[in-house]
Symmetry: C2
Subunit: 324 residues, 2 copies
Amino acid sequence: MEHNILIVGATGVVGRTVIKILNEKNLKNCNYFLFASKKSKGLKFNICGKKFVVDELTDKIFKTHYNFALFCTNEQISKTYIKDLVKDNTVVIDFSSLYRKKYPLIVPEINAKKVKNKKIICNPNCSTIASVMSLYKIHQKFGLKRIIFSTYQAVSGAGQRALEDMKTKNQKKLKKLNYVINNNLIPCIGEISKNLYSKEENKMIYETKKILDDNKIKITATCVRVPIKICHSISINFQTTKRASLQEIKDVLKCTNGVKVIDTPLKYPMPVIVEGKNDVYVGRIRKDYSNRNCFNIFVVSDNLRKGAAQNGVQILEDLLKENI
Amino acid sequence: MEHNILIVGATGVVGRTVIKILNEKNLKNCNYFLFASKKSKGLKFNICGKKFVVDELTDKIFKTHYNFALFCTNEQISKTYIKDLVKDNTVVIDFSSLYRKKYPLIVPEINAKKVKNKKIICNPNCSTIASVMSLYKIHQKFGLKRIIFSTYQAVSGAGQRALEDMKTKNQKKLKKLNYVINNNLIPCIGEISKNLYSKEENKMIYETKKILDDNKIKITATCVRVPIKICHSISINFQTTKRASLQEIKDVLKCTNGVKVIDTPLKYPMPVIVEGKNDVYVGRIRKDYSNRNCFNIFVVSDNLRKGAAQNGVQILEDLLKENI
């Protein structure tokens, strides 16, 4: 059986990484339909030996029936197209945050089972994926009582136009970011909500609880954009419910599926090492002597891969297997 | 009365900022003696209208009697020269970390009185100064129970040679940093100690307690080098002993001498705003809903100014006043 797979936003930073990963995975019997904005119309991509041409995103996407769709764009585009595709029995993997409160938020290593019989499946926020990947086994084994996140997020997390902002020094010519990012930090990602947290911070707090399926975990976050292109990093301080030794925490991390530990006095995870990798890297694992059962870790993840495209394609792979 | 003032390391990133600030302050009746490494010999600097020539740092510094000395270099140079200067009745302000455990660590806004009758006065670690500046009034008013630091530290904090590393992409040609910093983060500043904390992290923990004069505060830290030239930033999560409202915390910060608050939904402290400023900037002031009496703030400070030169020159000004 052939599967028709729609990719919306195929030429953006996430869409291009999705295509790269599809080529690495070599999924069988898939036909791809690539859509993007007008200016990308006509671009050609090879996926697993076949050539596909990008078309402009308009209502004509509804002319074909798709088994699966990946939406690698923003909330507005998800809002315009997803509901009608679902009516046509397409199973949609949405990278935007539009449906994250209503539909399952999936990180396959953690909660793959929840995709069953769902028509809309949400790919979580990029910093959240990296964080929960490093914490889910610890939560299963020792319980998480409280988490404090401070993030170091790459510019690609804000898309192609934000990457273009890295080339300009002129505040007025910025395309996506509110402020110049070169030689700067922007300690606010997304607008500030009534609770004084930024949209990104509220996502991390809400989504971590939802993915770990535990509303009792106490979480706070500070999200900061840093002048690097790829890889989100997170300084995480966490407290476990049950007593855990440093060695036990290290052992759990070493056995966490999808996680790699780099932790020697001279080696630690860094964006230059992690870029292009699908795993989430954890290091600087230390006991936090300031409180009982507390630990510090430093996590780095390729935000375009495990933070987005890799996670989404993993979901697609699971759906294809289920379908077979 | 004329004061002879020795500046060692006058041509480094901190030394040059000391000279810049001396020019801004226009201290009366001071004669400067500038020393640096061989390659800087002969460089000329204007300080308050007079011209001074840099000499090579050798034992000949002992030929003159100095009332005050500023050591803007590393521990090794402090070790070689300071003790003999002290015997000659010079009062030394040391920017290195050599004597920080033994002698007073001074941030004038907080503990200026402790300089009295001391021959060696230590300028604290740059991230620590920014942090304690934002916290000391809160500690006085509500008591600090626990602090969690995650830092975003500029390359200039590692000196001139580290700034030169920003220009190279070749790992083998690095002069000071262990890894390429462009498009990267280095989550380890200074060597890792037995307790698995980096030297910088241990400094922040130890020095914060010493400056706030309270060994009971529980503190942990994660220190990260980020690819920006100037300004250290710190994501701080803290818990107060006494109950405090968000408004009370904001009010205290607004009244903290040496601190500026920028905190609206569209404005927050950022390195591009803070570079070249003597104050420490605080924003993103929020209640941390994950625990009682907890708050998050984001702090940015020019690491070469209040983090080093400005703080050192403030100490010098206090000493000059005392001397008069």
